[in-house]
């Protein structure tokens, strides 16, 4: 039964998934901005993965005689107030900041998929209730909540990942739901249903693959926002605690020496900016590649 149903479904899908993906990939590569973003992302990703090899010094290797040296020989981005190499700290911090961004996005996206799928697939009462809740959360001052939460429960990486993840799922939920709604109406689903396929099977085999595109784009954009959130929270002292370096708390460290040693605060902030920008470029590129009219 199922094989026949699948065959019937496959024939009525608008575009075969593999072909669609191939064309999208080509479109993406032609987009110069997106390609640039992808290059930057790869570079940062490699930097984070290979941190021990890329960084010339250990992040907490303090040399008290060489404090606040300006960028130059021996220290590409200068040293901070304890004589630690800023470049090394920034490289090691990329591990922290990027992985926190990824992990919290993972939580957010998983939650978002679950909520969005439930709402989109079951519709009616479930949909209304879940969407009301989602709308409410969307409008909530999320950073505000994160700050309060961390201020009360104490700063730290687990709390950070948790609260950023738990407050960022609504946009993903909305997108997933929209995709579900769109696909639900397509003929091939009705056909599959008519031929007797179970709900779960329909979701997994036919709906999800089409949703993947949306999810990937959403993830890419969300990671950027998570990185920004982590940097801001760490700057305020509520996120990653020193001496563990994160881009946000290195900027905070350099705050006192802004006039005397601007490089301590400037460079980590620049890295945050570049990585978020790269993620946005890639995300936009992906969206344009798949469907420029997508409302993300």
């Amino acid at each position: 039964m199922s094989v026949r149903a699948d065959a019937a479904v496959a024939g009525t899908v608008r575009l075969a998934p593999p072909a669609r993906r191939q064309r999208a990939f080509q479109r993406f590569l032609r987009n110069r901005r997106a390609a640039a973003g992808a290059v930057i992302l790869c570079a940062f990703g490699l930097m984070a993965l290979l941190a021990p090899n890329v960084a010339p010094h250990l992040p907490d290797a303090a040399n008290f005689e060489r404090r606040l040296l300006s960028p130059g020989a021996g220290h590409v981005l200068g040293t901070d107030h304890l004589g630690r190499d800023v470049f090394s700290r920034v490289v090691w911090a990329s591990r922290t900041s990027l992985s926190i961004g990824l992990l919290s996005t993972l939580i957010a996206v998983v939650l978002g998929i679950v909520v969005g799928a439930l709402a989109g697939f079951f519709g009616r009462f479930v949909d209304v209730a879940l969407m009301r809740f989602t709308d409410m959360m969307l409008a909530f001052p999320l950073f505000f909540i994160a700050v309060m939460f961390l201020a009360v429960f104490g700063p730290g990486v687990p709390g950070l990942i948790f609260i950023v993840g738990v407050t960022s799922w609504p946009p993903t939920a909305r997108l997933v739901r929209a995709e579900f709604l769109r696909i639900k109406q397509l003929e091939f689903i009705t056909a599959a249903r008519a031929l007797g396929g179970s709900s779960a099977r329909i979701i997994v085999r036919h709906v999800l693959p089409n949703v993947v595109a949306v999810i990937v784009i959403s993830v890419t954009l969300r990671v950027g926002l998570s990185i920004l959130a982590e940097a801001s929270l760490s700057y305020l002292g509520l996120g990653v605690q020193p001496p563990t370096p994160s881009w946000g708390n290195i900027v905070a460290d350099g705050r006192e020496y802004l006039r005397a040693a601007w490089w301590v605060s400037l460079f980590p902030g620049a890295f945050v900016f570049l990585s978020v920008m790269a993620l946005n470029l890639v995300g936009d590129g992906l969206r344009d590649a798949f469907d420029p009219r997508m409302k993300i």
């Binding site: 907490d60 605690q241 020193p242 006039r259």
Partner: protein, 535 residues
């Protein structure tokens, strides 16, 4: 007609030359940048509140640098031969609302501070006869304070008490007006309007309090010490030091703190004057003295030898600071300047540790009976403590002691630090100490006496120190007291209840147009605001 015209013209010219009073007022003001504002002005135990209360309130007496009593609201006094009864004559002073300061106000104020529901307990006030009973609610008033006549008040003490002037008559026992506070439920004193607009006998009136923003003080013309020359003083809250410096440079702030890295730049600035005094804060860390490692004094001394404290001052303060061998502020007469501290000598540290039974173990970490010398170093998660912690960790690592840094944020830290049940959680912990806010005797007792609060946390007790501190209150004269205090400081250095690292300098920049008297401490800076002049 012509005459009146001429007179009118002369008047106009005179006014123009003198400037309208409003303009002069606006110029005759000083804006001070401060890192925090108090949240309450009665029953407060905050350090910042002390600086504010100094401007608004007045006490009966105090002591000078040499420890001699200084008259303030009390003009003169007589002491009974047995040293128990002081009869004090008040000078003709007024409160901000114009009413005279009377003996009734004095008695009322002290009973306010001794009230059972007053949130701060003052052990020294309990030296007054009848104070204990009153504090415990067993008596309707303090029998040891009696009003002889409107200008005379008599204090009867339980026994001879050497700290009468600085701990009973002195700060923070400010005289409050009875007519303003009479009948107020002490438990709800903060809800009283005068809690936010205090009426005191100090040189300034608090005229405006913008929460978390600024506090404005106006000169009190009838202040007994003479009307302050500066008309208005504004305390402006600026939490970030970098911003303070920017505002001082821009001329928006008249006095503000400067960070060590920028101080030289400020010294060269022709529009500003700078001053540098030993700070009111000194840094230290202490041990859980019940811990098997730290109960041995050789181990504790090893810590001193292992730390290059001069390098800490150079690195963290750019040299603006002093290595500390005594917990007392250098400007005080009790300060023992002759103490010779521990030099930086890692070899000696290692030697002491091996004498204490430690041998090199795995990974370069010392061990004893199979147990590696690891300890947690707990501190407040603020940048300055973290930086020190990192340096201390590095130094100790070089002699084979592995310290794990444990920064805690405020709620966590104070919760753990201050509850006896959790004190066993502490192995090594560090904080800073604000000197000069409380009497020296109290500081010593609280920190080093076996019954003191900090001793409770760190489980330290030294009978010799206890004995010495017990004798001070009955010392015959200041010379004898000084000998006792000097010895206490020696013992603190020898027995190492805590390791004292350094005292950062207070670095301030002041606009040239504001003339401030030379001071020896930040507390004195805030005590002498009423002597400032603005050109």
């Amino acid at each position: 007609m012509k005459k009146s015209l001429v007179i009118g013209l002369v008047l106009i010219i005179a006014l123009a030359l003198a400037g309208t009073p409003g303009q002069a007022q606006r110029r005759n003001q000083a804006v001070i940048a401060i890192w925090g504002l108090p949240t309450r002005l009665v029953g407060s135990s905050e350090a910042v509140a002390a600086y504010v209360l100094l401007q608004v309130h007045e006490v009966l007496a105090g002591t000078d640098d040499a420890g001699r009593p200084v008259a303030r609201l009390a003009e003169k006094w007589d002491r009974s031969p047995d040293g128990r009864v002081y009869t004090i004559t008040l000078r003709q002073a007024k409160f901000h609302d114009g009413t005279p300061v009377t003996a009734d106000d004095v008695k009322f104020s002290y009973e306010f501070y001794l009230h059972p529901r007053y949130p701060i307990a003052s052990p020294s006030l309990l030296e007054i006869e009848g104070a204990q009973e009153y504090r415990q609610g067993r008596a309707p008033q303090v029998t040891g304070i009696s009003v002889v006549d409107p200008r005379t008040v008599r204090f009867t003490l339980k026994g001879r008490y050497a700290f009468f002037f600085d701990q009973i008559l002195g700060r923070p026992n400010y005289i409050m007006p009875r007519h303003a506070w009479e009948g107020v439920d002490v438990a709800r004193m903060l809800e009283h309007p005068y809690a936010r607009k205090p009426i005191g006998a100090g040189p300034f009136r608090l005229t405006e309090w913008r929460e978390r923003e600024s506090m404005t003080f106006q000169a009190f013309p009838d202040y007994w010490g003479g009307r302050p020359k500066v008309e208005r003083v504004i305390l402006r809250l600026i939490p970030e030091p970098a911003t303070v410096m920017a505002e001082v440079r821009a001329g928006n702030i008249d006095a503000g703190q400067v960070l060590p890295d920028e101080f030289e730049g400020f010294q060269r600035n022709p529009q500003l004057q700078t001053f540098k005094v030993p700070g009111d804060v000194s840094f230290w860390f202490s041990f859980n003295h019940q811990h098997p490692f730290f109960s041995d004094v050789r181990v504790r001394r090893a810590f001193y030898y292992a730390l290059d404290r001069e390098l800490m001052v150079k690195t963290l303060q750019k040299g603006f600071g002093q290595v500390v061998n005594s917990p007392t502020h250098p400007s005080l007469w009790q300060y023992n300047a002759g103490l010779k501290g521990y030099a930086y000598d890692p070899a000696r540290a290692r030697q002491l540790l091996s004498e204490a039974g430690f041998t090199p173990g795995a990974g370069g970490i010392l061990q004893r009976d199979g147990r590696p010398f690891r300890a947690r170093y707990t501190f407040l998660s603020e940048k300055r403590y973290l930086d020190q912690g990192l340096m201390i960790q590095q130094f100790m690592r070089q002699v084979g002691v592995e310290l794990t840094l444990e920064p805690l944020e405020r709620g966590d830290f104070f919760g753990r630090f201050f509850s006896p049940a959790n004190s066993s959680n502490i192995e090594v912990a560090g904080i800073a100490w604000f000197n000069l806010l409380l009497p020296v005797q109290f500081e010593f007792e609280s920190n080093f006496k076996s019954t003191g609060a900090f001793s409770g946390i760190f489980q330290y007790g030294n009978p010799e120190i206890d004995g010495l501190l017990n004798q001070t209150s009955t010392a015959v004269d200041r010379g004898a007291m000084r000998t006792l205090y000097y010895r206490v400081q020696e013992l603190i250095l020898q027995d190492v209840p805590r390791v004292m690292t350094f005292r950062p300098d207070e670095l301030w920049a002041v606009q040239k147009r504001v003339k401030t008297p030379p001071v020896k401490s930040l507390a004195e800076f805030f005590r002498t605001v009423n002597l400032w002049e603005v050109r």
